[in-house]
């Protein structure tokens, strides 16, 4: 029997019962669509983290007071105050792999302008902070060394602050806003950055000289954390080593004692998040895969019922010259077609629903060709695997009994 005949016989058999064929395929359609959509969500979140990495630069390093090693509570308030400006100076002077460094102190409170107000964070930093965090100025200017030295009440604000405090056509630069009770003159506005990988708004911030925040808002002399950037991505490890060494010296830590600070790099964080999103993708995929498996069992179920229901047809085919292998192949091709056609429809539905997820929930989704090929292959395998047993049952029928089957 040639293959076009075989294909035609199987097609006819499926088309004879279109509705049932559709119901059978439904399991596969939903299974494949959900696999595609779930993988797309997983890949999308991974992709957006990676995009962010390249946007932020992988060479960002943050230094926080306190040792983050697990093994008990060791956060004392004195430890949290262990970082001084001298640390920043030391890093700047002694770490050759570090290109920029900025102290960070922050406070939250209410930003007020005119009759509008907005709860936000104010960050006290130096003028290298923009460079480290890859922020850019949309208008105005960054603050100067002189303004840092003189505790100047100036600030650079993010897009979200502009939107919430100013009217649309108002130019914020040159205006004075209040943060808490302190007036700050807006000297610059940052370009929009959007949300970061964890959904935090990166434009909801006010930057001011750290001296101003330390003295006028927090009344402290220590700093809360340090942001630095390695001269290049390759120098990350070296920079971290140098910073650790420098800080151990300035903090007078004995070689036997543990650090009272922790140094983390952006790329480390990204790796962690990527690993998490990989696990999430695998988990989502596995759950969707189960529905695909259920779909496959649905096909086996229907094919099995179909063999019983079509016993006389099988008897007839055997009587008029169909070989056992012809019958076997016919039923295999039927289940294969059901699952592959279901798979193709499922892939299309998966693509559509991925798009819908992006446009309705604005989640980032990425449909990779690999996931499509994977889904298609799985369908083909399911079709043959779950079609095998019913097909063998059909081919094994005795034509005499099958013809007389009631």
């Amino acid at each position: 029997m040639n293959y076009s005949n075989l294909l035609k016989i199987s097609m006819n058999a499926i088309l004879r019962n279109t509705f049932r064929a559709f119901l059978t395929m439904l399991g596969i359609i939903i299974g494949v669509a959900s696999v595609i959509a779930m993988l797309a969500i997983g890949q999308g979140s991974k992709q957006s983290i990676q995009d962010e990495m390249s946007e932020m630069g992988t060479n960002m390093i943050f230094i926080m007071p306190g040792d983050d090693r697990p093994g008990g509570v060791r956060m004392s308030s004195s430890e949290l105050q262990s970082m001084k400006l001298t640390d920043v100076e030391a890093i700047k002077n002694e770490c050759s792999a570090v290109s920029s460094v900025s102290p960070v102190v922050n406070s939250n409170g209410q930003a007020v302008f005119g009759n509008k107000n907005w709860p936000s964070n104010i960050y006290g930093v130096n003028n290298q902070y923009l460079e480290i965090r890859k922020y850019q100025l949309a208008s105005g200017r960054n603050f100067t060394e002189r303004e840092i030295k003189t505790y100047a009440k100036v600030c650079v604000i993010g897009r979200t602050i502009v939107e919430n405090l100013f009217d649309e056509n108002e130019n914020p630069v040159g205006q004075t806003i209040r943060f808490g009770s302190i007036p700050f003159k807006v000297i610059g506005v940052l370009t929009e950055k959007g949300e970061n990988g964890m959904g935090q708004d990166q434009d909801d911030l006010i930057l001011a000289p750290y001296t101003t925040i330390q003295k006028r808002i927090l009344s402290i002399t220590y700093i809360q954390s340090i942001f630095a950037s390695a001269a290049s991505e390759d120098l990350n490890t070296l920079a971290i080593e140098q910073i650790t060494e420098t800080l151990r010296q300035t903090h007078n830590i004995k070689s036997t004692s543990e650090d009272d600070f922790s140094v983390r790099s952006q790329s480390e964080m990204v790796q962690t998040f990527t690993a998490i999103s990989d696990i999430m993708t695998a988990l989502l995929g596995a759950i969707a895969g189960i529905s695909l498996l259920v779909g496959g069992i649905g096909i086996m179920n229907i094919m099995y019922v179909s063999v019983t229901e079509r016993t006389r047809e099988i008897g007839l085919r055997l009587a008029i010259g169909g070989r056992e292998s012809d019958i076997m192949t016919q039923f295999l091709v039927e289940s294969f077609l059901l699952s592959v056609v279901g798979g193709v429809i499922g892939i299309l539905l998966g693509l559509v629903s991925s798009q819908a997820i992006t446009s309705i929930l604005s989640w980032p989704v990425v449909v990779t060709p690999a996931s499509i090929i994977f889904a298609f292959l799985v369908c083909s395998v399911i079709g043959i695997f779950f079609g095998w047993y019913p097909a063998r049952k059909a081919a094994g029928l005795n034509p005499i009994d099958a013809l007389r089957y009631e």
Binding site: R317, A319, I320, G321, R323
Partner: protein
């Protein structure tokens, strides 16, 4: 005279039912010449169905030999038997066995799908020809459920004809039909027989057997009686005599 189309010598067929062995056929000899129209008769359990299965190459005998068109089937594999059924035999069943939701034409085409040598164009042409031969040219695209029993049986006959078989095997082909329709089917078979088709017709009705040249009666797995009918009944004549409210032929 050339060799017989079917030649059977000492055929036996045993079935094992649990511990007991049932002797369904206990030594049958039979020859069927080309162009014969022969009835195989007998009550239930007489072995006539088993005989038909053996004749139809659906079952192989326990012992004895069976030549179909010069081929001894005892030595053939399952696949070779399937090919034989496809090319040398045509089946007509009591319950028609048409595929549901499939047009008459496609039903008739079915056996040709299992023959590699036939192109799709030939397949269509031969099927149309066969439907013409059974007088159903105008019902080609009807589904089985849109046709009467008699019409469905004609589609089945067309399906048996389409591969131009050496022998047509009919198993109680009129069993589900009323008298009038039975006669119509018999008239069709007689017509095909006159055109040279060899037909073996299994039935338990003596009346129906009288439409054939010859009958073989089975009893307890043996041939009990052989009759030759000098003058067979002509179904077309009987039909003409019947009071007709509708003439389907």
């Amino acid at each position: 005279m050339s060799q017989p189309v079917i030649s059977i010598k000492g055929i036996k067929k045993d079935f094992k039912v649990g511990e007991i062995t049932v002797h369904a056929l206990r030594g049958i000899d039979l020859e069927v010449e080309e162009g014969e129209f022969i009835a195989i008769m007998g009550a239930s359990g007489s072995g006539k169905s088993t005989m038909l299965n053996v004749l139809g190459c659906l079952d192989q005998p326990t012992s004895g030999s069976y030549w179909l068109d010069g081929v001894e089937i005892g030595s053939l594999s399952k696949n070779e038997l399937a090919r034989l059924r496809n090319q040398k035999l045509g089946f007509v069943f009591q319950s028609y066995n048409l595929l549901p939701r499939t047009t008459a034409l496609e039903n008739v085409e079915l056996p040709l799908y299992y023959n590699n040598k036939i192109t799709s164009k030939d397949r269509r042409e031969k099927a149309i020809e066969a439907l013409h031969a059974v007088g159903l040219a105008d019902r080609m695209h009807h589904m089985p459920n849109q046709m009467s029993g008699g019409q469905q049986q004609r589609v089945a006959i067309a399906r048996a004809l389409v591969n131009d078989p050496r022998v047509i095997l009919a198993d109680e082909a009129t069993g589900n039909l009323d008298t009038r329709t039975s006669y119509e089917i018999m008239a069709l078979l007689q017509y095909l027989n006159e055109k040279g088709k060899t037909i073996i017709f299994v039935t338990h009705e003596h009346e129906i057997a009288r439409f054939m040249n010859r009958s073989v009666q089975f009893k307890d797995g043996l041939v009990a009686r052989k009759d030759n009918f000098e003058k067979r009944f002509l179904a077309a004549e009987l039909l003409a005599m019947m009071p007709s409210n509708q003439n389907l032929i």
